[in-house]
């Protein structure tokens, strides 16, 4: 079974530029998550989708971050414009249903973003 795929793996941009990350979850998984992991910290949930609807985006900085999950499969996270403090690893995860807190989340390898 293929795991969660993410691209690109690394990205370097200058502040005020825009950037987009792509995620393809495990086939058949209804729920998709985007996390931000700043160096030295644990992952922080940015947004959670169930199928193609948003369940939780309370920690997404909506003035600069946006995300979509078209057709309930893959997803794109965008930052526009980027700030220095956005330098982090962006992790995508998926789970089969996401309707219960007991589910295991399966993580992709992440995209490491450096904003100069």
């Amino acid at each position: 079974e293929a795991g969660v795929a993410q691209s690109p793996r690394y990205k370097i941009i200058e502040k005020r530029q825009s950037v987009a990350f792509w995620c393809n979850p495990i086939s058949g998984h209804a729920t998709l998550y985007w996390y931000q992991q700043i160096l030295g910290q644990g992952p922080k949930l940015l947004i959670q989708f169930q199928n193609n609807g948003v369940v939780d985006d309370s920690q997404l900085p909506k003035d600069r971050f946006s995300a979509e999950r078209l057709k309930g499969v893959d997803s794109t996270l965008k930052i526009q414009p980027a700030k220095l403090e956005d330098s982090a690893v962006y992790l995508c995860a998926s789970s089969p249903r996401g309707s219960g807190g007991w589910e295991t989340q399966y993580f992709g390898p992440g995209t490491r973003l450096l904003v100069l």
């Binding site: 795991g3 030295g40 644990g42 922080k44 807190g101």
Partner: protein, 114 residues
């Protein structure tokens, strides 16, 4: 809202020695507890989780953890570590009710010395 504190940011141990990584949580409702491991340049992988029942949970790679409700702890242990256990370990909590969101601790970097 729930929160997690991992008491040690770094833990160095010698190969074949035992190790304990400490985790305390805070929540006003009942919880599910998780340990994830992150190897260098990889995503997070589930080690084990506590949902209900026996408070001693066994996971992959010889790890186990014990849920202690009175002390709100979920410490991770392994009786004998290997070089390959070098990684970052994250404790995480989710809740049975309310806004179910997986909240992670800041991580513990386990370094195994030969």
């Amino acid at each position: 809202a729930q929160s997690v504190t991992q008491l040690d940011s770094q833990v160095p141990v010698f190969e074949e020695a035992p190790v304990e990584l400490r985790c305390n949580y805070s929540s006003s409702v009942s919880v599910y507890l998780f340990w994830y491991v992150q190897y260098p340049n990889q995503g997070l992988q589930l080690l084990l989780k506590y949902l209900s029942g026996s408070t001693l949970v066994k996971g992959i790679n010889g790890f186990e953890a014990e849920f202690n409700k009175s002390q709100t702890s979920f410490h991770l242990r392994k009786p004998s570590v290997h070089i390959s256990d070098t990684a970052e370990y994250f404790c995480a909590v989710n809740t049975l009710q309310g806004a179910q969101k997986l909240v992670f601790g800041q991580g513990t970097r386990l370094t195994i010395n030969p």
